[in-house]
């Protein structure tokens, strides 16, 4: 019996033209061609997509959730990056 498993692939689907590809799950396949075909059968049985990307999971690099406080803190403290931070005088309708 084989000890070598098929590699793991992450599956991304564009649900319709104009939208991003979105991660939907993963699957195992021996190569990219079969990963795409399997992704079609496993993740788009009900017209969920018009385009599929598959990426070998090995190649995904992720941020560490335990670092997320320091990683994302710089953005949390900069409220002036949002339009609601600014006061607009009465009488101005659209800005």
């Amino acid at each position: 019996m084989s000890n070598r498993e098929w590699p793991l692939w992450e599956v991304f689907i564009r649900s319709k033209q104009g939208l991003n590809h979105k991660h939907v799950g993963s699957l195992r396949a021996p190569d990219a061609t079969l990963a795409l075909e399997n992704a079609r059968d496993v993740y788009t049985r009900r017209s969920e997509g018009i385009s599929i990307w598959v990426v070998e999971s090995n190649y995904v690099h992720a941020s560490d959730p335990s670092d997320s406080d320091s990683m994302f803190e710089p953005s949390d403290t900069k409220v002036y990056r949002h339009p609601t931070f600014y006061e607009v005088p009465d009488g101005i309708k659209h800005m």
């Binding site: 019996m1 059968d41 496993v42 049985r45 959730p65």
Partner: protein, 315 residues
Amino acid sequence: MKTMDLQELEKRFQEKIDKEIKIEPNDWMPDEYRKTLIRQISQHAHSEIVGMLPEGNWITRAPNLRRKAVLLAKVQDEAGHGLYLYSSVETLGADREATIDDLHSGKAKYSSIFNYPAVTWADIGTIGWLVDGAAIMNQVALCRCSYGPYARGMVKICKEESFHQRQGFESLVTLCNGTPTQKAMAQDAMNRFWWPALMMFGPSDDESPNSAQSMKWKIKRFSNDELRQSFVDATVPQAEILGLTIPDPNLKWNEETGHYDFSPINWDEFWQVVNGNGPCNKERIEARTKAKEEGMWVREAAMAYAEKRALKKTA
């Protein structure tokens, strides 16, 4: 890790759960939470895959092309559901093939309902109506599970499964409006599947020692008995519409509680089937083991082909 650290991590983990923040694969989680999920999700995956067997047997025997196409689509869905769930298990660091080997060795369980045979065409309708109905009741509750990948998988599965229950019910409506023989066949299927369907929700709350922890971790949202009661309450009116009799002389509406009362469940039968002595346990595991062993050359050939092509590309 120091003990203090561990306590602090566990405290923070529970705070996240209490605040309804989902747990994602790389987040810290207690070992026991991980283990519980690996056990539960892999057994759920096995149930989807083993569940293909009783129905798959009827694909070539479906009474017409419409029913055949529907059954084929349903069985294909079950395969897909198994795959979503095995993917979820892998996000917890479990080895997919090892969980499958645990199924084949008898170490891992699967839903005991699939150890009952589907002997007539009415069984196929009844499985869709009662077995998928009970599964949906369970799975809808799991859509809010604290573990993100499992909850997301459940949302997708529930969307797809609502057709499973409807096609079964529709098939039974046809049989129940058919000849007396067809109606009798539907009643016979009901008689055999009613109690095993109620057992699908698992042991009573007082016999289910791990439930409290699973509820605290929000892996489970409702107890086995609560879900079982919801299923009975939802199903009795459907049986009335079919004109089928539920095989329980004590089943009756309780004005006070606002629920149906029903007889105690035969837990001896449940444990017999769980522990391997149901009508089809041996057959099911043999079929799964055979599929893996005899299909192994296909996996190996596909891998060899992929490697050969990769070599050609670099050459």
